[in-house]
Every structure is written in structure tokens, then in C-alpha cells.
Subunit: 347 residues, 2 copies
Amino acid sequence: VKGDQKVRLPSAFERYRSEIDAELRSVLAERESPLYEMMRYHLGWVDEQGHPTQGSTGKRLRPTLLLLACEAVGGTWHQALPAATAVELVHNFSLIHDDIQDDDRERRHRPTVWSIWGKPQAINAGDSMHTLADVALFRLGDQGVALEKQQRAQRLLSEACLRIVEGQYLDISYESRPDIGVDDYLEMIEGKTAALIACSLEVGALLGSDDEAVIKGLFAFGRGLGLAFQVRDDVLGIWGDQKKTGKPLGSDIRRKKKSLPIVYALEKAKGEAKKELLNIYQKEVIEDQDLDAVQGILNALKAQAYTQGIAHKYLNGALEEIRGHPLVPSPARELEELARFLVERDF
Amino acid sequence: VKGDQKVRLPSAFERYRSEIDAELRSVLAERESPLYEMMRYHLGWVDEQGHPTQGSTGKRLRPTLLLLACEAVGGTWHQALPAATAVELVHNFSLIHDDIQDDDRERRHRPTVWSIWGKPQAINAGDSMHTLADVALFRLGDQGVALEKQQRAQRLLSEACLRIVEGQYLDISYESRPDIGVDDYLEMIEGKTAALIACSLEVGALLGSDDEAVIKGLFAFGRGLGLAFQVRDDVLGIWGDQKKTGKPLGSDIRRKKKSLPIVYALEKAKGEAKKELLNIYQKEVIEDQDLDAVQGILNALKAQAYTQGIAHKYLNGALEEIRGHPLVPSPARELEELARFLVERDF
């Protein structure tokens, strides 16, 4: 039971959830094309026939972090809701395209958008969701946010968006390269994952405060947290429980993803193990027995403990970044709780 | 000779061209990922090894229209350059994704981005170019454009972008439907083509004037022009000279595109011709002899004259929209010249 409690979703998720989803629904509601039905499906509200469903919607991690950052610096989180939905839309547009690129047929225990509507229309669904993020952000004006701040938030989101796609480029290009080191890996996840999480915290702080030092501190916290989050994701991608993660067993290995445990093993393995690992990663298709072999090599090198150690290193660095800033105690405590959850979670 | 002169590129294209490209290059220059090399390739500046080339870059139609609209309402076109590059980036991001969706291996006599770098990375190139359009637009601030106008331009561009993708959705969904009428067709091209051309003229006018009636007039002109442009494109897609258009012969028919001549023929054909047409459009793969059969049916129905007549109808409607507004004579004349060119061009 203790192990279960450790990874329970922090209460901040619950507190904002219904308002985040109400704002998201409202952004999509004004639109008519079947593309928006595809988005509602992806966001977990309807099934593929368009009927309301209680499916898995994802954690809404980035908007939750954004709103918490806004509260932690003394702001009113309601004002920041349009930005919260914008980061969630950017994240989800990138997931829709990611699933196409990786040929993934399942996400969160459900068929992916492209596997239902085909890749051409799934590209369209992602493209329009990408644009909707801008549209969502324009609503900051209705919340009384000054134009200067709106535009600064818009710039930060655009830059994060470029970083995500650049990271995604590297992630795909690494699949066919055996010579990826830890530095290459870090460059990739800085873009693919850390950029949008850092942006979420920075924009949340920006909307709640004019104190540039605090805004900078929350950005740095978000960057470290983003790295820690991705590294934990890499642990789950190999050792996670398929039923909890919703990802097919061994999928990171099958797709030759250069996740941290693999990059570490490629650097550390010697002799026969190294030869076998390189051999497997040069194959066209990775088979079941290869999965076992890779797992064996990773376990011999204690790659799980190493990877989890790195996640904790980034977590601690992130927490260091917000110490000493004048934050509102309760949301600041929740930020810390949420950060710890992210490196311990099993889903 | 006269026929050739009739379709020569109007001088407005030449006047702005080098500055549009300089601004585009500068937006891309600050970036480092190989994705930007892919974009430079798509924009016609480099070959696939990254060496400078004198390839075909496209006409830069939308930015040219935007700058001309700005001049025509009495504005300074230099101020509007960031918006001109933004519309060109939106257009080109949609082309990169379009080529993936349609499986087209060639555009403007060159291999498409996906046919060189693969579909996953071409999706990324389009996604980052999509975001760069926002980034390009932020430069309006450096030109002294007030934040309110910047944001209004941003909103117009976002809405146009949604319309493009919605139109693209319809275009693809129509391929597998034999029951598409002229109204369905118009709904599709309003989004796919007219929205961004209308937006270009509206934003150009917005940046050059505060007169809401003039801004509205140029929007309406752009919408009509966009429809006329697409209808002419449909003529070229079936009867155009492959060497001039850069599109493979009969490609619109092979892809079962519901272009206007086809939609018209599906509505007008009777008896055997109708049966044959429906038969061909229900086939999995359209073959060479089918192309001839379709061409024969179109010719018997005088579909080319009908379609070209519709293009002229929209052209005349468009020109009507700017009459009576207080425009600067010389750029207004060029707008009209350019509009006439668009329905007569053979490339």
C-alpha cells in the first residue's frame, strides 16, 4: 500500500482539472470541422464515434504546472487559464504528430488518431490543434492581461514550440545512429521535453508576477523538472508496468529509441555485451529475443539505478532553483510535491 | 508571342521579390537545426546537399499581394514585410504537409521534402515552419507597428490557418466521395486557398490604413481573387502544360481530386458518360486509359470553358470589391493587373 500511495496523483491536478478542461472545451467548441471531433477524441472526451466517454485524458501536467507557478508567485490562477490551455494544446498537437512519426497505434490504452482516421487527416488534426494554441492564448486579453505580457507569453510559447520540434527531429534521427552519447541525449530531451515544461512554469510566473528574478527561477526549475520527467519516462519506457503506462512492453527498445538507459549502456558496455548491443541496434527489426538480451545487458550494467539517479539529480537541481525566492508557501509546497511525484510515478 | 506576353509575371512580383526573400532568409538564419536546411531547400534557395541553387522558388504570390495591398491603401510596404514573410511561411508549411498527405514526389520540378528526408522529418519541417510564421510576425514590433495591430494581424493569420487546414481536410475527404457538388467544392476552396489570400490582402491593408471600409474591401477582393486563383489552378491541373506547371500530367485526375471540372462533369454528365465517370472514380487506381476517358468526357461537356468562365466570374466580382475605395492609383492598377494575370497564367 505504501508503494501505491507514494505515486498517487498530487492534489494540485485535481484542483485545476475541471477548469482546464472546461477552458479547452470552450476553445474547441466554437469550431465545426470534423477535425475538432478528432481533437476531442485525442483529448479523451469522446470515443471514435463522437460519444462522450470517460477515457483517459492524460494528466494535464503542463497546464497544472503553469497554474501552480502562477499561484506560487502570488498571482490569480484563473487569469492564467488561457495560457494553461495553450501549452496543453501545443503538447497534444505534438503527440498527434509524434504518433504518426513513430507509427504508434496506441496511446493511453486507446487507438491513436492516425490509426483511426489515417495519417493524412491526423496531420491535419495536429496542424489545426497547433494553431488553436495561438487562438487559446488570445483569450488572455479577456482576462485583463496587458498586451505586452500577452505577446511575451506568445513569444515564449513559440520558442518552446520550435525547441520541441527540433528535439523531435533529433529523437528520430538518433534511431538510426549507434553513436549517440549522453550529451547528444541531453540536447534532444532539452528540446523534446524540457522546453515546454520550462515554458509552462515561466509563463505561469510571468502572468502572476513582475519580479524577473522569480520568473527566471521558475523557468530554471521547470527546465530541471522537464529533464527529470523525461529521464523517469525513460525508466518507465523499459521497466514500467505496461498496464499502468499504457505503452506496449519494450516499445522504446523496439523503436530503437536512444533513451538514457540505452545510451548509458552503449557507453558502458564492454566486450561481448557491447558487440551484442550494437548488433541488435543495427538490425532492421528488433525481435522478442532481442528484447530479453537488451534487458539482460541493461540489468548487468545497473542501468535502471543509474537512470533513476540522474532523474533525482535533476529533481534536486530543480528544487534548488526555487529556494530563496519569495513564494506563497502552500502552492510552493505543492510544486515541490508535484516535482517529487514526477520522478517517482509509475504511470 | 502575344499569348506568351499575356501571361508574363506582373512587375510587382519583381519589385518586392528580393526583399521578401531577404526577410525570409533572416527569419531562418537565426536557427541551427537541420530542419532549417530542409526549409531552405523547400523555399528554393539550396539543393538537397545544402549548396546554393537557382531553383524555382515559387511566385511569392501571397506576400506580393500583401505588400501591394499595403501600398494601395497608402501605407509603407517595408513596414509590412514581417507579415509578408509570415503568410509565405504559412503557405509553405501547408505545402510541405500537403505533399506528404498527397504522396506527391515532385513540386516545382524538384523532389518534395518528404521524398528526400522521409515523412516523419518532413512533418517536423512543416511544424517548425508553421511556428516560424508566428516568429516572423513578431518582427512587426521592430517596424514600429502598434501592439494592437500586431495582435489583430496575428489573429487574422491564425484564423486563416485554421481555414486552410479545414479546407485541406475536406479536399482529402472528397477524394473518396463521388457525391461532391459545386457547393461542397466551394466550401473546400474557400478554406484551402481563398482564406490565406484574403488574409494577405486584409493584413496588408490593415498595416497600411486605419480605414475599416477599405480593409474590408481588400479582404473581399482577396477572397474573390483566391477563389478565381484556385479555379484557374484546377484548369491547369487538367489542361495545363506539364513543363510549365511542374505538376505531373493528369495528377489531379489520378489522385481523384474533386477539382471543379470534375465536380461539374459529375453533375452534368448523363447516361453512359456518367456511368463511366463514376466507375473510374470508384476504382482503387486510375490508369492511363482512364485519364483519356475522363479527358474525353470533360471535353464533350466543355468543362474547360465552364471552369475558366467561373474563374472570370470570381475575378470580376473581386475587382468590383475595390472599386469606389480611395486607393493609390499606381499600386491599385498593379493589383488589378496581378488579379488578371492570376486567371490567365499558364504556370
